[in-house]
């Protein structure tokens, strides 16, 4: 793919939009894949002091390349400290010390509930996905949740096949009925747009469209009748420094993982 300074892929726009959502004061519980790229891009650009925590127990980790697994050596070698996994989930996550959890998923519904378990019925699935991992408790214990995933009709569905992790439940005040006091998903960052839950109904609403993306594209890529905010702005395009930093991060990662994957 040719990349002039002004051209970028939808996936790069998604990662950059996700990185921008993070602040320098965040303590962030990082999932692997797109969330990990976004969190480290934030750290290499506008949020140098952001605290990144991976569920393998690594606290304040500063990887120079993106890890393939949630517990690559790079994460431990660059961490302030590495704690046992039970301590990670009990003292740090359950203890309420994480401001922002970053999740992805295979399916999401209009209230930002996520499925990473199965497509089809649980007992006899059409597709057996990896499962919840840390997500069920990340979703309820972090101060707020950002979700980043590619915007596809098969992923943005009217009804998810399995409730792996809680978003806003059935909408409105439903999330609180499970005894959960954290905010839940406050932003969903895709390769087409940025969505936020409506303050009252908690239904995901498009608030930003990425440059060049039309409303029709978003409608087409969403399995429910998607709502748009009264005023939808355009996402500022990637800056030169954001693109350069992200591409260098991916290039270092590919070189370190030993192939042009």
């Amino acid at each position: 793919m040719s990349k002039t300074p002004n051209s970028y892929t939808p996936n790069e726009m998604m990662t950059i939009a996700a990185a921008r959502a993070l602040s320098n004061n965040d303590v962030c519980f990082v999932g692997i894949g797109a969330p990990s790229a976004a969190c480290n891009l934030a750290r290499f650009t506008h949020a140098p002091d952001i605290v990144l925590i991976y569920e393998s127990g690594t606290i304040e980790t500063k990887p120079n390349i993106l890890p393939l697994s949630i517990g690559d050596g790079e994460l431990c070698e660059t961490a302030l400290v590495t704690v046992p996994v039970p301590e990670m989930f009990r003292y740090w996550l359950q203890g309420g010390r994480i401001t922002t959890g970053f999740l992805g998923g295979a399916q999401i519904d209009k209230f930002a509930n996520l499925n990473t378990t199965v497509v089809g019925p649980y007992e006899k699935p059409e597709v057996r996905l990896p499962g919840g991992g840390g997500a069920p408790e990340i979703a309820t214990s972090c101060g707020q949740i950002f979700i980043t995933m590619a915007h596809k009709r098969r992923a943005f569905v009217e009804k998810i096949d399995f409730f792996t992790s809680l978003g806003h439940g059935k909408g409105g005040d439903d999330r609180a009925s499970y005894g959960v006091t954290t905010k839940g998903p406050t932003k969903v960052l895709t390769d087409l747009c940025v969505l936020e839950p409506d303050p009252k109904s908690k239904e995901l609403t498009v608030v930003l469209l990425h440059p060049g993306v039309t409303r029709e594209q978003v409608v087409e890529a969403t399995g429910w009748k998607i709502k748009f905010a009264d005023r939808v702005a355009e996402t500022p395009p990637p800056t030169e420094i954001e693109l350069k930093t992200l591409r260098e991060l991916h290039a270092r990662t590919k070189a370190a993982h030993g192939e042009a994957a």
Partner: protein
């Protein structure tokens, strides 16, 4: 006191058909050499417990060693599906397997409760999550002091724990460094245990007074297997072989290529074959 044994002796003496066994290590220090020995000895009907089944259980499942898998995240990290796990679950090849699925927090809490000799673990979990509908081992309890509703899961009661570590001394005291996962909890919560190590040394000194050390009297058997965690890694010894994790996808996708790989790299080899990985630079 831990017995210092060969790998074949340690598996022979400690692991029986039908046992509940956890071969733990959270992406790090995964006891692959020990898993291969279990395949060579042809153990059957095992309940295999691991937070992340990883390639080690894909291999054991594909060779018909497993009857049930207890897990919380079942993929090839950063790569995709565990094809042998899927083939057994979907198609019963080479045999049907049962699954018991949890979240990471539940498994971590259950290991800790096992080490502490508690009957169950309580934690703030599974809220609004559907796993409790399909897993009868997830219950709800009420805090007797505050009235808060909490999740409860049974403590991990293991017949056998098998883990890998960096070093043991000649008395079988074992030092773990880096991502220490749930290894200590698994060993302390098991009736029998095997620890494979990169090297056996005269003394673990010098080490921090707070180092993660399991005394030899808490461990059944210690086995020296340099490189024994490959393709996972041993902090301070060798890196994770991410290229192999990616290659595994093609090897395991097909039953014949999987069997051919196992034949060449497991059945026709012994633990010494892992030594080459220990020589790669950390």
């Amino acid at each position: 006191m831990a017995a210092i044994l060969s790998l074949a002796e340690a598996i022979e003496a400690n692991l029986r058909d039908g046992d509940n066994v956890a071969m733990e290590g959270f992406t790090h220090l995964i006891p692959f050499a020990a898993g291969h020995e279990v395949i060579r000895q042809g153990r059957k009907r095992l309940t295999l417990i691991r937070m992340t089944p990883d390639l080690i259980y894909d291999q054991l499942i594909g060779m018909g060693c497993a009857e049930k898998i207890v897990f919380s995240w079942g993929g090839n990290p950063g790569v995709g599906t565990l094809h042998r796990f899927r083939d057994a679950f979907d198609n019963g090849w080479p045999n049907k397997i049962e699954i018991e699925e949890h979240s990471h927090a539940a498994m971590a809490n259950a290991y800790e409760a096992g080490a502490a000799g508690m009957p169950f673990a309580a934690f703030r979990g599974y809220r609004g999550a559907e796993l409790k509908r399909v897993n009868p081992n997830i219950k709800e309890i009420t805090c007797p002091f505050t009235g808060e509703k909490l999740a409860a899961v049974p403590a991990m009661k293991l017949d056998v724990a098998i883990v890998h570590a960096q070093k043991a001394d000649r008395k079988g005291n074992v030092l773990f460094e880096g991502i220490v996962g749930v290894q200590k909890e698994a060993v302390l919560g098991a009736k029998r245990s095997i620890v494979t190590v990169e090297e056996i040394v005269d003394t673990l000194e010098p080490h921090s007074p707070n180092a993660v050390i399991l005394p030899g009297w808490t461990i059944g058997a210690v086995v020296q297997v340099p490189g024994g965690a490959h393709p996972s890694f041993a902090h301070g010894y060798y890196k994770r072989d991410n290229v192999f994790y990616k290659k595994w996808d093609a090897i395991a996708r097909d039953r014949d290529s999987f069997r051919a790989w196992i034949d060449e790299h497991v059945l026709r080899k012994g633990p010494d074959a892992f030594a080459v990985h220990a020589k790669r630079a950390a």
